[in-house]
Every structure is written in structure tokens, then in C-alpha cells.
């Protein structure tokens, strides 16, 4: 089960993932990010505080947008991941490509810096 909640704060689009992202629902995540991009976002933050699990298919969604983000100059960060999910990002090496922050304020700061 995956629930997606979108919210806009100042210039930031925050997408909150609640539950699990796996092969069956990764398409929903993909659609949400696509929509946010189409609406001309400049800063996209993924709130992973309530993300319990992410499968490789879910990681594939983030990965597929990395080039888009850099081309369009969109600043992107993920924050609030629990230890297990964080480990998944680290093992794959995505932590080297995506800004991963412990909380919202750190994530905001990271995206400001870049």
C-alpha cells in the first residue's frame, strides 16, 4: 500500500510517501513526480518519514528522473528515511547521487546550497 500526499511550501514541492513502494505501485510514484515536473517545480523534496519499504522498482523511479532534474535545474532531496530504507539507498550507491537528509530543514538547506 502506498499513499502519496503533495504539498507546496513557498517554492518547494513536498511529496510525502506513506507506506511501501514496490513493483505494483511504483507507477503511482512515477506519475506524481511527472505531474510535479510538468507544473514547473524548482525544488522537489521527498518526505520519506513514513516510508516503510522501497523495492528496487521504486528506486528505479527516482533514478530515472535524475537526468531530468539536472537538465531542468530542479533541486531534489529526500529526507526523513528510516534506517532500513536509508540502507537500501546506500547499498545501491544512490546516496552519492541524491541528496539524502535526516529532516526537512536539513533537506531545505541542502537544496539551497546546491
Amino acid at each position: 500500500m502506498l499513499q502519496l500526499e503533495r504539498k507546496k511550501e513557498e517554492n518547494k514541492d513536498i511529496l510525502r510517501l506513506i507506506g511501501e513502494v514496490d513493483a505494483s505501485n511504483s507507477i503511482l510514484l512515477d506519475q506524481s513526480i511527472q505531474e510535479i515536473l510538468e507544473q514547473g517545480a524548482t525544488v522537489l523534496l521527498i518526505d520519506g518519514t513514513e516510508l516503510e519499504y522501497i523495492s528496487s522498482a521504486g528506486l528505479g523511479v527516482f533514478m530515472s528522473y535524475l537526468d531530468d532534474f539536472s537538465e531542468r535545474g530542479i533541486r531534489f532531496a529526500i529526507f526523513g528515511l528510516n534506517e532500513q530504507v536509508n540502507e537500501v539507498f546506500k547499498i545501491l550507491g544512490l546516496d552519492r547521487l541524491i541528496a539524502i537528509a535526516p529532516d526537512l530543514s536539513t533537506a531545505t538547506r541542502l537544496t539551497h546550497e546546491s
Binding site: D22, A23, D30, E52, Y53, S55, S56, A57, L59, G60, V61, M63, S64, L66, D67, Q84, I91, L92, G93, L94, R96, L97
Partner: protein, 684 residues
């Protein structure tokens, strides 16, 4: 049994009946001769009675046989049989009248012997007619059998059998006992005459024919009865065969049931269209429910439905509208009306009623009546056809009268619609099942092909043992492992995992094998191997797919292995000297994530020295991510503990231990929703 049924019972009975009749004629003539000449003929009147009874029995057997042979015929054929016998009997009687009228008072005209021969002929025909008609009535009465009717009929039959022998008791007198018996039998006849359930099954035309036939039977019965009375009164016959309770009761029964049938058929005439309508509806309903045959299509079902609805409601026009989203086409969607009238009428139906979506999912839309304001057409009925929670089509029925659709029509049309929807749904499910079956077959082939992509035999020297295991979440999966012997001292182990699972993962797995098998020939160092693999796979993987891989190059002479990891689950290394297992930490990004030359910054290799008794466990994330019913993952620590607990085991047993523990952990309610693979190496 077979022998008796092979005997021509009908013919034997007929023959016997004729013989008995001849004997009867002979005996009676002798008796008359005796009476006229005041001689004792030496033949008691009982002989006549016995012969008469035998004659009745044989005639009964003849007709029973005839009706048995024709029991499957329709009512009209059966009734005609009664009519024809009656006409014969009546014309025989009239012919006799005619002959005597012609003969006048001549000598032959008054000859008692000739008169008696004619009397016997008429008696025979009358008996045959009465018995045939009684058997015909029996067939009609017992058309819709139940226990009560059968019992009633049996009572009647027993009483008639009693009446047959009544003559011995009352000696052919018309006394009170005779009247009493007759009244009882007539009452039973009247009771039986209430069983007229065959009549509604006749259609309008058949009813008219039946009326004619019944009229003829009644007429014949009347004529014959009159003649019997006449001959009795005239006293020109010295031997009376017809003042017999059995024969009189038969007259009564034939007449009563014939009259009742005639009247009921007559009064049923005006309502027969209703019954016919109901029967048509039942047949239509059956057609609708049977139209699930694979060779029939949804269009045919809708076609039958449209026609059934029109006939059930006597509509003056109708059409069927198909939901534009559905892929059904119907050749002739319009009935009775023309296209312009239809457009005109469509405009008169409120827009919201024509919507293809229905708001409340719980409520299936029902047939809906609408008043039309139109010079010719006054009312409409919308019948939505709901298949699989969406409206497949809508039938619009139009009538020229106001409020032309009554409650019964709504209910029967609603039933038709539901049945048709069930048919369509079944048809679709059946097709789906066939399609699924085909996919299953295809997947089985894919599974076999994919299994062949994994090595049957793992290359390894005597200095280490190795075994591997792989299982897929679906029929096919995205895990891969392989071994390769570079030279006599160098062996390569490789394990890969495609993101996602199922068919797409399986295709990428096949690509991965191709890339790995090609690159491995180049004798590359592990980090270089990953760089080249990344470049190659970047060209063929879909944008949101990636592959993780681990590679080990083992040098069995120097007891070292060089390892690079591309985003893959770290390998567990049990060190025999320390009695401890730990995950090898080497940085490395998955393949296909960064699709340019900068990948070289994201991968590294490290060389380690191993010792005898060391164990390497390469695995994919499916093992660590297997979850029990509380959602807890199998995790690194459990795996570590298992290996540390069983370092002495050979690879195949250790591997089994890990798989068993995983299954035990996951349990019946948990899940391993991913492909999972293991490669266990133990150095000697």
C-alpha cells in the same frame, strides 16, 4: 420380457376382439332363434354377458396399444383419433337407419335376425368409440400428473371394472341399483373433468381445431346415445346389450369430459394470447441463457435481447445504444423506427438519464420509464445493461401509448436484461480464461528458457566447493549468477539482480547474461568489468531499470580474491580464523543508474586474502527482504548468525540451512515477494 414385447399385442387383441364379437353374434342369434320359436336353445344369458365383457376388454386392449404407440403425438392427433372412431361409429349407425328406411316394412326390413346383426355391428362401433375416447380422455387428464390425479383416475378405473361385472348382479334391468351406480360413476366423471391442464398449452389456432374436434366427438356421442335409447325403446331387439352400466357410464364420462373441455377451451380462447406470450418469454429467456456458446458473440446476445424486450412489451419501436467505450458493434441496432425518428426521440430523453456512468456503485441501474412529449410516441423505457460494474449498452423501448409499460413488463424485461448481462459476462470470463490459459503456457515456456540461462554446472577447482540456488517470485525473474574459469588458477564468480521482477526483469536478465559473458572473455579487472558493463547495459536498459552486481575474481594460488560491487547486496564473508562473519564493504553504484563516463568514479575494487575454511555467501536482496507476518525483515543479522552457527557444513548443506531458516521465518502468512538467489563458496 423381450419375447412378450416382441409379440404384436395390438393385432392379437384386435383378432380376439373380432372373434369374441363373432361368437357374441352367433350366440345371440341362436338365443333369438330359441326365443322366437319358444325353444330352449340351451344357452344361458350369462354366456352373452361373458362374451360382451370379453369384447369390452379386448377392445380396451386394442386401443390401449394404439395410444401407447402414439403417446408422444400432440393433442390434436390424439383427439383426431377419437373423432375418427366416432365418425365411423355414427356413420355406421346412420347407414343402418338409412338401410331400414329404404327397406321399409318389407320382409327383410322386419327380419329379427338381420336387425340383430346390424344391432351388433352398431354395438361394436359404439363400444369402440366410447373406449377409444375414454382412453383419449385418460391421456389428457393425466397430462400433468400428480399423485392426486392418478389416484382419482384409479378410483374411476376400479369403479368402471366393477360396472363391467354389474350385469351379473342386476340382470340387465334399468332398476334403482342401476341408476345408483350410474350416478356414482357420473360424479366421479365430473370430478375427473376438472383436470383440463392440457388446454392452456394449445395455441390460438390449435384451440379452434380442438373446439371443432370436441364438437364432433360430442355430436357423435349424442347420435350414438340417441340410437342406443331408440333401439332400447323400440323393443325390436330381444337381446339388449346396451342397457349396460359400463356402457352407459362410458357415455356419461365421454360426454361430461368432452363438454367440459369444449367449454373451457372456448373460454380460454380470448386469454390464449397471454399464455402464448408467457411461453414466448420463457423461450426467449432460455435462448438468452443458452447463448453463452463460444461460437456465439455478444452481439447475438444483444440481438436476441432486443427482440425479446420488444415482444415482451409490445413496443412500437426500439433501439440499442452501445457504450462508446465498449468494443461491441451491432449490425442492426434500430427496430421498427427510422433513423430520424430515433434522433428526434433521443432529444426528448433527459440528458442525465443517458449518462454512461452511474454514480452509486452499490446500486445497479434498473429499467426506467420516461414520459415523452411527442405527437406519435408517448412513453419510453430505458433498460441499462450492466456488465462488470459498467454500463455496456442501453435498450430504449418506445410505445405510442402513455404509460405503456406495466409492472409485469418491467419485471420480465429486467429479468431478460440481467440474464443477457450474465451471458455476456460469462462469455467474457470464458474468453479471458482461455486467454489466461494461453499466457500461462507462454510463461511456462519463458520459465524453461530462463532456467536454461542459469548455469547447470559451476566451474570450480578442487580448492573450493560451490553451490547455487535461485527462485523467482513470478514465473520468470531477474536474478542471475554464473562462474567462469579464466585460467587454471583464476576463477570468476558473478551475481546480478535486475530491478523489479517478473517479465521485464527476465528480459533484462537475459541481456545482462549476454553482456557479462562477453566481457568476461576480456579478462578485465573487476572494477574495469563493472565500468564496461555499465556502459553496455546503459544502452539497453529501460530508463527506470538498473542492475546490481557483484564480481569476485579468485586466485587459488595466492589465496586472494579481488571484488567489486555495483550496488549489489554486500557479500557475507565468514572468516574461519576469527570464527566470525561480516559483510564485505566496498563502495559501488548500481549499473545503469549513471549512464555516462562518470561511472568510473563510482566503482572500486579491493583484494582480500582468504584462508582455508572461509565461506563466501553471495545473495540477492530477496533473501534479506523476506518478511514475516508482522512485517519484520529477515535481515543481515539472521543470515550472519546462521553462517556463524554452521561453519563446518559444506556449501550445499549451509545453503539448505539458509533457505530453510528463511522459509521458517517468513512462515505461512509472510511473504518473499521478490526473486532470491544464493551462491555459497567454501575454501578448502
Amino acid at each position: 420380457m423381450i419375447k412378450t414385447s416382441a409379440l404384436p399385442l395390438g393385432r392379437i387383441s384386435l383378432l380376439l376382439a373380432i372373434v369374441v364379437w363373432l361368437a357374441l353374434v352367433l350366440v345371440d342369434l341362436v338365443r333369438i332363434f330359441g326365443m322366437i320359436n319358444n325353444l330352449d336353445s340351451g344357452i344361458a344369458e350369462e354366456v352373452t354377458w361373458i362374451l360382451e365383457i370379453l369384447f369390452f376388454i379386448f377392445v380396451y386392449l386394442v386401443y390401449r396399444h394404439v395410444f401407447w404407440k402414439t403417446r408422444q403425438s400432440d393433442f390434436l392427433t390424439l383427439i383426431w383419433r377419437g373423432v375418427s372412431t366416432g365418425l365411423f361409429a355414427a356413420s355406421a349407425g346412420l347407414l343402418t337407419e338409412l338401410i331400414y328406411y329404404a327397406l321399409g316394412e318389407s320382409k327383410i326390413g322386419t327380419d329379427p335376425f338381420l336387425k340383430n346383426v346390424f344391432y351388433h355391428i352398431n354395438f361394436a362401433w359404439t363400444s369402440a368409440f366410447l373406449i377409444a375416447t375414454t382412453l383419449l380422455w385418460k391421456h389428457l387428464i393425466l397430462y400433468q400428473k400428480n399423485k392426486q390425479v392418478v389416484n382419482q383416475w384409479q378410483v374411476f378405473e376400479f369403479s368402471m371394472a366393477g360396472a363391467l361385472f354389474f350385469v351379473f348382479f342386476n340382470h340387465n334391468n334399468l332398476d334403482y341399483s342401476f341408476l345408483f351406480g350410474l350416478v356414482i360413476l357420473l360424479v366421479i366423471s365430473i370430478l375427473l373433468a376438472a383436470n383440463l391442464k392440457w388446454i392452456p398449452y394449445l395455441n390460438f389456432k390449435e384451440k379452434w381445431k380442438t373446439l371443432l374436434f370436441l364438437f364432433l366427438i360430442l355430436l357423435c356421442a349424442g347420435v350414438l346415445f340417441y340410437r342406443v335409447l331408440d333401439s332400447g325403446n323400440e323393443g325390436r331387439v330381444q337381446i339388449n346389450l346396451t342397457d349396460n352400466l359400463f356402457l352407459m357410464a362410458l357415455f356419461g364420462f365421454v360426454f361430461v369430459y368432452g363438454l367440459f373441455s369444449f367449454l373451457v377451451t372456448l373460454f380460454n380462447l380470448p386469454t390464449s394470447s397471454v399464455f402464448e406470450q408467457k411461453l414466448t418469454e420463457a423461450i426467449n429467456f432460455q435462448k438468452l441463457s443458452q447463448s453463452i456458446q463460444p461460437e456465439e458473440s455478444e452481439e447475438q446476445v444483444l440481438d436476441i435481447l432486443l427482440d425479446s424486450c420488444i415482444s415482451a412489451s409490445f413496443s412500437d419501436g426500439a433501439w440499442i445504444e452501445l457504450n462508446p467505450k465498449e468494443q461491441v458493434q451491432i449490425k442492426n441496432p434500430l427496430r421498427i423506427l427510422d433513423e430520424s425518428t430515433r434522433t428526434e426521440l433521443t432529444k426528448l430523453i433527459p440528458q442525465e438519464k443517458q449518462s454512461w456512468v452511474y454514480t452509486s456503485a452499490a446500486e445497479i441501474p434498473q429499467p426506467l420509464t420516461i414520459r415523452l412529449i411527442h405527437p406519435n410516441y408517448k412513453s419510453a423505457l430505458l433498460v441499462p445493461l450492466v456488465v462488470n460494474k459498467s454500463i455496456l449498452a442501453r435498450i430504449v423501448l418506445i410505445k405510442e401509448v402513455k404509460e405503456g409499460f406495466n409492472k409485469e413488463m418491467l419485471s420480465i424485461i429486467g429479468t431478460f436484461a440481467r440474464q443477457a448481462c450474465i451471458s455476456v459476462e460469462n462469455h467474457r470470463l470464458l474468453n479471458q480464461a482461455i486467454e489466461n490459459e494461453r499466457y500461462q503456457e507462454e510463461l511456462k515456456i519463458a520459465q524453461r528458457v530462463q532456467k536454461a540461462l542459469l548455469p547447470l554446472k559451476l566451474d570450480h577447482p578442487d580448492s573450493f566447493d560451490i553451490c547455487a540456488y535461485s527462485n523467482t517470485a513470478d514465473e520468470v525473474g531477474g536474478d542471475y549468477y554464473d562462474t567462469y574459469q579464466v585460467d587454471e588458477n583464476h576463477f570468476v564468480l558473478i551475481m546480478g539482480d535486475v530491478s523489479g521482477k517478473g517479465t521485464s526483469a527476465a528480459f533484462h536478465m537475459a541481456q545482462m547474461k549476454g553482456v557479462f559473458q562477453s566481457l568476461i572473455q576480456l579478462d578485465l579487472r573487476p572494477a574495469e568489468f563493472m565500468k564496461k558493463a555499465n556502459a553496455a547495459l546503459s544502452k539497453c536498459l529501460e530508463r527506470n531499470h538498473f542492475i546490481t552486481a557483484s564480481i569476485f575474481e579468485i586466485d587459488v594460488v595466492n589465496h586472494t580474491f579481488c571484488h567489486a560491487r555495483a550496488g549489489h547486496i554486500p557479500t557475507l564473508w565468514y572468516k574461519a580464523t576469527e570464527n566470525k562473519a561480516e559483510f564485505i564493504s566496498v563502495e559501488g553504484l548500481g549499473l545503469g543508474i549513471v549512464r555516462n563516463l562518470s561511472y568510473k568514479n563510482h566503482v572500486q575494487e579491493k583484494t582480500f586474502e582468504y584462508h582455508s575454511g572461509d565461506i563466501l555467501v553471495l545473495l540477492t536482496d530477496g533473501i534479506l527482504e523476506g518478511r514475516n507476518e508482522t512485517g519484520e525483515q529477515f535481515g543481515n543479522d539472521r543470515l550472519k548468525k546462521i553462517v556463524e552457527a554452521h561453519p563446518q557444513k559444506n556449501p550445499i548443506h549451509l545453503q539448505q540451512e539458509i533457505i530453510d531458516s528463511l522459509h521458517q521465518f517468513v512462515g505461512g502468512d509472510g511473504m518473499i515477494d521478490d526473486d532470491y538467489s544464493l551462491l555459497v563458496v567454501k575454501f578448502k
